[in-house]
């Protein structure tokens, strides 16, 4: 009896101590879909996590769990993180959408930030994403100019609006400078599997593609392109400059640092609110990696001009006239796409062959 009392009071005392420590530091958790060393998507999120640590020093403690499968396993990891005292949790893949909302319902005091999703079922859930399609527009412009076989291979991950937007944006701008261009799209149903990504890249190259665009996270397609020789690639999410100046001629960069710092500060100040953030080149969430000398100077200049126009808002990547794949009108001359349609985009634009897996 005595010993139980002793243990109980010790436990309470310990609880008080940890609670006191927790008061001082804000704990920020990150859940990643791939390893931090993937060289792409997860790598950029982890860079941003380190930026948060650098900004706040000892006032913030960050934790992360990498290679978390989308689905039920994510819910387990999120619950554990919340139980361990996280104040703010960033879930950095589309497939964590339901898991994030489910766990958020159980922990109303913990703030959740879900990347690239659209569900905010609880007041403690925010969503954020970047307008990657603006980067895809610049990429499409370069790709359309660079291809000689007029076949551009596209390694697509999952048929979700974000990926489809990217394909449409790249195609529109590639076909604008090169009307003969054809897109070959392979869905690999993974965000990260270097062997599969390399196989997909090789298949596309075997089938005549001389430009490879990817919406997967590893640098494997660059290695395949380098091996094949005369094939152009673009960095995805991070700069992937190890493959510059060729095959990697430019890149779409994800810049999450500023956002993560701002949101962490909001939690510390108590000003955090559920919001939906969708920032592009103008707000600095999307960047364009250095365009190498392998790209003709005039093409690089046009690309940078397009980047500037996208940044100041004078040009929208989806500006009419644009028809849907079946030929029906979508945007009239000069009309720009609204965010609602873009966020739920589930159709190809006119000119792309093949069907979107449903």
């Amino acid at each position: 009896m005595r010993i139980t009392t002793l243990l109980a009071s010790a436990a309470i005392a310990l609880g008080l101590v940890t609670a006191a420590v927790a008061e001082d530091t804000t704990k920020v958790g990150f859940v990643y879909v791939g390893p931090v060393g993937d060289g792409g998507w997860t790598f950029t999120h982890d860079q941003a996590r380190q930026a948060v640590e650098a900004e706040f020093g000892d006032a913030v403690e960050t934790v992360f769990v990498e290679s978390v499968a989308e689905g039920p396993d994510a819910e387990r990891v999120l619950t554990q993180m919340a139980l361990d005292g996280a104040d703010l949790i960033f879930t950095t893949s589309f497939g964590y959408m339901d898991a994030t909302n489910n766990v958020a319902a159980k922990f109303p005091d913990v703030k959740f930030e879900h990347a690239t999703g659209y569900k905010r079922l609880h007041p403690n859930v925010s969503t954020y994403s970047a307008r990657f399609y603006e980067g895809r527009a610049v990429q499409g412009h370069i790709a359309g100019n660079m291809t000689e076989s007029n076949i551009i291979g596209y390694i697509a991950s999952y048929p979700i609006p974000e990926v489809i937007r990217g394909i449409n944006s790249a195609y529109l701008h590639a076909s604008k400078v090169n009307p003969d261009v054809e897109f070959k799209i392979i869905w690999v149903y993974t965000w990260f599997d270097p062997a599969k990504e390399a196989d997909a890249a090789k298949t596309l190259i075997d089938q005549g593609a001389d430009v490879i665009l990817q919406h997967t996270d590893s640098t494997a397609p660059h290695a395949a392109a380098q091996e094949a020789g005369n094939v152009v690639t673009f960095g995805q999410a991070s700069d992937m400059s190890a493959y510059a100046p060729f095959p990697r001629v430019s890149a779409i960069l994800d810049e999450w640092g500023d956002y993560y710092i701002a949101r962490t500060r909001a939690v510390m100040d108590g000003t955090w609110e559920s919001v939906d953030t969708w920032h592009g080149i103008g707000d600095g969430m999307v960047g364009i990696g250095e365009i190498t000398d392998a790209v003709p100077a005039n093409v690089a200049e046009e690309a940078m001009a397009m980047k500037a126009a996208l940044a100041d808002g004078s040009y929208h990547a989806f500006t009419g006239p644009i028809n849907k794949q079946d030929g029906s009108a979508w945007l009239a001359e000069g009309e720009v796409a609204d965010d609602g349609t873009l966020a739920g985009m589930n159709f190809y634009v006119e000119g792309i062959t093949g069907e979107i897996p449903q």
Binding site: P194, A195, A242
Partner: protein, 306 residues
Amino acid sequence: MDLSVINPILLIAALMSAATPILLAATGELVVERAGVLNLGVEGMMIVGAICGFAIAVESGSPLFGFFAAAVGGALLSLLFAFLTQVTLANQVASGLALTLFGLGLSALIGQSYVGIKPPRLPDLNFGLLGDVPIIGPVLFSHNLILYFGLALVAAVWAMLKYTRVGLVLRAVGENHDAAHALGYKVVRIRTLAIMFGGACAGMGGAYISLIRVPQWTEGMTAGVGWIALALVVFASWKPWRVLLGAYLFGGITQLQLNLQGAGVAIPVEYLAMSPYVITIVVLVILSADKSAAPGSLGRTFHASN
């Protein structure tokens, strides 16, 4: 749809390359399981082999030396599993899972300074005139040494299990370790050697991914191949030639579905994406209708006092 863009010769050549990592790892695991040990750490040993092979190939400039190092790395890691399960009699399933987690972490640590480096290339073997034979030449005689090594390994393991005394002893240990022990065979020693053989094969399989199939190092790059190899051993009813068939079927259909997608075939992509798994399982399940059973002592802990 335009099927003419698919070059069957390139397709078959790609299939053989894609199947080799699974084939190597599964053949090694087959020997381990025939000795009565279930090592779920294949994925961990593969990824450690991938980085050991990559690092040594880059440092020494010799891809073959890299493969050798990968085999050593995989075998060393498997020795940890052997110690846990054969000496301290730990649970095999838990130890195997721990080995995978440990291998993933260890490889990430070793690999930090190898990101973005291009490894030396292992040249394809030159068969002289044979390589110039139409169709057969590019399909059969245009590969690197390790791919042929994988095929030879299957044949060697098959012959070893079926015709040699060593194979007989190995199978005896796997079927009934108490009986083998009573006959005077060193169960723990034989199993440890089998585990190391499995580790070496898995390591080479991993190095095939990092040195040949992708040529680069990326953390976690095996991305589940080890688990496929494990499943393949079971579906192949612990028979070497069926492992070969399963690996080539899986690799082949994976390549074919990518090609069909590129060619714009009007089959829904979801079906194409799942086809390698479904077809491989169906074929091997039909083949295993002969009621081949798992080794009798598979997964059971052995201690001489039992």
